[in-house]
Symmetry: C2
Subunit: 581 residues, 2 copies
């Protein structure tokens, strides 16, 4: 190695040792015949010193030529520092340099490579390889690497086998969001990239693999919204001979293990909440339960009092913001503006303050007496000093709106502490959801999800009421993972496709291979897939591929490696047997 130690390694115990370090020049000071250089590598920073009265002239000359980010190799003696730096692990020592070699020069970097950089986002993205030198950015990738290894070891210890399923797969007719990949060899034929290894892993269960996992790239060719990337990473898992609680137990254990070993956080047992409860209490299937502020149904308290808006509403729903009765007009207007944003879409907001003197003040005072308002307060458990915020309308719509308002208030009141973690399982999702556009039911998770046995009889008459044996792991309002017990019976799978509007022929053409496999001894099985990018984000790692690794950009400033494809050569297209139409 071009070093004997790293720049993060030397301590007082090394004093008197001859060492060789290699790294980057972080900064230098040249004062009164003394020269100090901070030498940096991934592991830390060590101070190099030079002294006009002692150092070799050539070494000193070289040292004075060094600019920021030069790569150098320094040989010298470890000595104790006069003035210690207790912010640095190496702060008790420094290196008296006796030999110095420039391994590579560097242009002045376009921004400062420190925790606190002066580089704007565009510049840092353009010179991503320099931004990645910063501790903050690099540590995200380190966390990701550690998490992946911890996941693998945890699951391997439980006898899970990691199977790498193919990336170039059969292109199936349904794949409207599949990336397709033309083949040079079989002209006019295409592979697809997998959106998930769902059917692969189910076939592995048919194969008796019993416990499978994979940390795997998945692909989706759709609009690059903020939270969608064309490629993303899943921890994909499947188990045989399991009930729902077996799956939840294993992956709750895994998640608890990760929090403990990587973050030092002990998580309690994860509570279970039904989808119905989550929607009723939080207006969301991924509730942030770090704080309460649960929804209060105020229909009974508010309707039939002459206020038309509430009377006509399917649901009048409130939340109680503790200690917010002193909100000013301006603050309340800001809340109203918030819920009126087009992406939220409420027409207005009603508030009620619980004054310190026991009186109530609401924005709809003319319809409600003090006694009426007292009734609201009682239902909402609101006490003097609290503020009740009320929205109304169509049940599904108003719940979504109130969910946004609740999260907004949670942020405003500092109730969403990023260092606190509140996981839960949301269970009993609906099997099907009605799609207005296509006017038919779609599978809420995917068509392989098993219905709850006790609900199967409702499939014909009340398909929207049938619950699935499906579950999501939610932490701090983020859906970290989701899965289900699967259908393992051919007839049940056919029935499901029928209810999803597939003809027998369509079902056979797309998923015949799986249904055929079910006839040769498919075990009961179920699984889960975690969004690895989201999990990493929860641990302070990167959230998306674009976040964590964006490589050199072209001159237009677009990130050419990740989210912008480029034109290909005409000849290359010809060779592929395709052209631009």
């Amino acid at each position: 190695m071009l070093r004997s130690h790293t720049c993060g390694e030397l301590r007082k115990a090394h004093v008197g040792t001859e060492v060789v370090l290699s790294g980057w020049v972080q900064r230098s000071r040249d004062k009164g015949g003394l020269l100090w250089i901070d030498l940096r590598d991934r592991y830390g920073i060590t101070q190099l010193t030079f002294d006009e009265s002692k150092s070799d002239a050539k070494v000193l000359e070289t040292a004075r030529k060094l600019g920021r980010e030069f790569v150098v190799q320094a040989k010298g003696l470890v000595v104790e520092r006069y003035s210690k730096n207790d912010k640095l692990p190496t702060g008790e020592i420094e290196l008296e340099v006796t030999a110095l070699e420039i391994l590579n020069a560097a242009k002045t970097p376009p921004f400062i490579i420190e925790d606190d950089t002066d580089g704007g986002e565009d510049l840092r993205m353009k010179y991503r390889y320099l931004d990645l030198r910063r501790n903050e950015v690099r540590s995200k990738l380190e966390v990701r690497s550690k998490l992946a290894i911890a996941v693998r070891n945890y699951l391997a210890d439980l006898e899970f086998i990691e199977v790498e399923t193919p990336v170039l797969i059969k292109s199936t007719p349904e794949g409207a969001r599949d990336f397709v990949v033309p083949s040079r060899i079989n002209q006019g034929q295409f592979y697809a990239l997998p959106q998930s290894p769902q059917t692969f892993k189910q076939l592995l269960m048919v194969s008796g693999f019993d416990r499978y996992f994979q940390i795997v790239k998945c692909f989706r060719d759709e609009d690059l919204r903020a939270d969608r990337q064309p490629e993303f990473t899943q921890i994909d898992c499947e188990m045989s001979f399991v009930n729902r609680d077996d799956v939840l137990g294993v992956f709750e254990g895994m998640t608890r293990h990760l929090f403990k070993t990587i973050k030092g956080v002990e998580l309690d047992k994860f509570p279970h909440m039904t989808y119905a409860d989550a929607m009723e209490k939080y207006g969301s299937d991924k509730p942030d339960v770090r704080f309460g502020m649960e929804f209060i149904n105020l229909n009974e308290q508010t309707q039939q009092k002459g206020f038309n808006v509430f009377d006509q509403a399917e649901l009048v729903v409130g939340i109680c913001a503790k200690g917010c009765a002193d909100y000013t007009r301006k603050q309340l207007d800001a809340l109203t503006d918030f819920v009126r944003r087009p992406q939220i879409g409420a027409k207005g907001m009603v508030y009620m303050k619980c004054n310190a003197d026991g009186s109530y003040k609401s924005s709809v005072d003319k319809f409600y007496s003090q006694d009426d308002l007292k009734g609201w307060a009682a239902k909402a458990n609101a006490e003097a000093g609290d503020l009740v915020l009320v929205l109304s309308g169509d049940k599904n719509t108003v719940r979504k709106q109130m969910n946004e308002l609740r999260l907004y208030m949670g942020d405003a009141l500092g109730l969403r502490n990023p260092n606190e973690f509140s996981p839960l399982w949301v269970v009993d999702f609906p099997l099907l959801e009605w799609d207005e556009e296509t006017e038919r039911y779609h599978a809420m998770h995917h068509p392989f999800t098993s219905p709850l046995l006790e609900d199967i009889e409702k499939l014909d008459a009340e398909p929207g009421e049938v619950r699935a044996n499906a579950y999501d792991m939610v932490i701090n309002g983020v859906e970290i993972g989701g899965g289900s017990i699967r259908i393992h019976d051919k007839e049940m799978q056919k029935l499901m496709f029928k209810h999803l509007g597939f003809t027998d022929e369509e079902a056979k053409a797309q998923f015949g291979f799986l249904m055929d496999a079910f006839e040769y001894g498919a075990p009961p099985h179920g699984g889960i897939a975690f969004g690895f990018d989201r999990l990493c984000a929860m641990f302070g790692g990167s959230e998306t591929i674009r976040d964590y690794i964006a490589f050199p950009k072209n001159t237009s400033g677009r990130d050419v490696m990740i989210d912008s494809p480029s034109p290909v050569d005409e000849n290359q297209l010809k060779e592929l047997g395709i052209g631009l139409s």
Copy 2:
């Protein structure tokens, strides 16, 4: 769980316990009122027993309905067996079944799911999910999974960070073997799939990542020859501030660790052999050194004796096959036929037998005296009873031919024991190789490989003589991994591109991003990439993706998931903005 134990778990210590097992019916015997069923899962086989005189009538009825590969759940009491089966780890016990449930019925499988199956390859490929139930096939994937985890833990312990580089990357003009991926969003634009993360990992070194690895899929759109797959897996690694021997040390350590922990094999220190020596002694840059039979240069001994074929040859080369002097005419003819095969292409073969009586017999006796032949024998270290085989011709051609003959003889003489492992490093590869077709030099590894410093001066006058700081790990004649110390200096990289026939503009267009990065403080670095599929094969795991996971085939018998793309819907192409030309 639908079981309390697995089918491989129960021992004598469990006798008297009530247990629940789930698994597949492997086979059953029904004889004299007694019924035995072997229940199988991934972990083993347990014998279930039923007794007409004791068992519940309904349980017995169900048991008699079971066919092969039915999935069942059996509850019962663990009892000691009368006749133990010492071939099974569970052979001391059996389960007296008290409750039995069919979890899923199965059609009669198209072949027997046993180690010794009656299924032909086509049938087993068609029903791959059934073939994967066989221990032999499943264990290959288990080995692969174990190897991957062992690699990750070994490298993580050495502070390597696993970084997942993007799969959808920028399409570069040179990528004649790149798969291209049209984008729905940016019509007429394409991503490429990476042939390797080479430039990514070099940028990570510029970023100061210091130690990077990744087990990563790579893609190459080219003819599907036997040993080439469109997707394959690499263990990709890179280190900063290293010399060649640092890289070799780390990865020799890793390989030794894998052999020890996964196979229980202790490997000696890997010898180093130069490329020049490997070609001279074995005619191959991946010599199988499990056996000697090194090449003997016989130019001096054979030329100028009137045998035109030898006189005109650039190289006359022999190998000594110990104890083969008794080869019959037929055996010798077979060897001649072998070297004359079109894919080998020799015109003929000369032999010389060292007879027991001290005399020599050769196929070219009329040109050579006994004394001449004695000279051959002396050079070849051939003793009475040995056979010397000789080929001649153009040096490069005849070495390749002799390499084939040597390996053939090694097989014939049982010298290539699959349970013996002889690793070595081949070093000092040529930097450039002449390509007859394009009439210019190509990079033998890739254009980022550093030349040996002492050879740089030859770049202009004798480019073919310049050695690279490149190395391959070879085990048993298989190239397991290869890498090099890289160029980290912009000017050197430009010089390299110039020698590869790139104009400055071409080099800048394709690799400008990397050369620009070199200007901002690139550390000396080097690395290696292992063919993970080949490494797995060496450990008894699967070699190629097609080997280890081939999913349901279409009716034409082609493996639709892996190696055959399919037509896409016309509308899908339209949506992508491309058409068939």
